[in-house]
């Protein structure tokens, strides 16, 4: 889960290995806000797999790559 200057840098780093998923950091920021916003709340309850999958869906990460299994 690394950051790169651009997609070209991702491909150079992969050096022929299979790509995972690449998303712009604007989407990552949106995902992080939803994923982590309740993490230190006194009322926090464990997220179910379905809740976490829904967060991914809400930001448009619906490709099978993002299926939590």
């Amino acid at each position: 889960m690394l950051l790169f200057r651009s997609e070209a840098h991702v491909d150079r780093w992969l050096a022929g290995r299979e790509r995972g998923a690449v998303i712009p950091i604007t989407k990552l920021a949106e995902l992080a806000a939803r994923w982590w916003s309740d993490r230190i709340s006194p009322d926090w309850q464990p997220h179910t797999r379905e809740q976490n999958q829904a967060i991914l869906d809400e930001v448009g990460l619906t490709d099978p790559f993002w299926n939590l299994g």
């Binding site: 950051l3 790169f4 200057r5 995972g20 950091i25 989407k27 982590w36 916003s37 993490r39 299926n67």
Partner: protein, 146 residues
Amino acid sequence: MDAAELRVRRATYQRFVELGRAPSWGEVAEAVGVSEEEVRAAWRRLHDTHALVLDEAGEIRMLNPFAARPTDFRVDAGGRSWYANCAWDAFGVGAALHVDSEFDTHCADCGEALHVRVRGGQPDDDSFVFHVLVPAARWWNDIGFT
């Protein structure tokens, strides 16, 4: 996760944020009013359910989004400095604390220093990209590698 584990988890996060570092068993035990052994056992169960990540000695390694050890993701948020476990977590520190943040890391390819300021939840430079190598279903097979 039962009520006792939730109390230990909550206190662990509270102490982490108060101290700016991973708390010891004793520091959490004192906060919760239980023994160190009970905290160690609760941490082990929380580790097994992916609520936190312990190292080989049974101490906190990751309290996501916070990292207990220095990483290449150093975050300034809420007037303090933190380490995050990855780029996702680097955004997560500000999100969890509900404050603006900024972080320093490096392009994993060329090593160029990258600085990201996050204001109102959005980064100031939208040219960078985030790459995840491992499909989501396998993230916890080896969370350190992920």
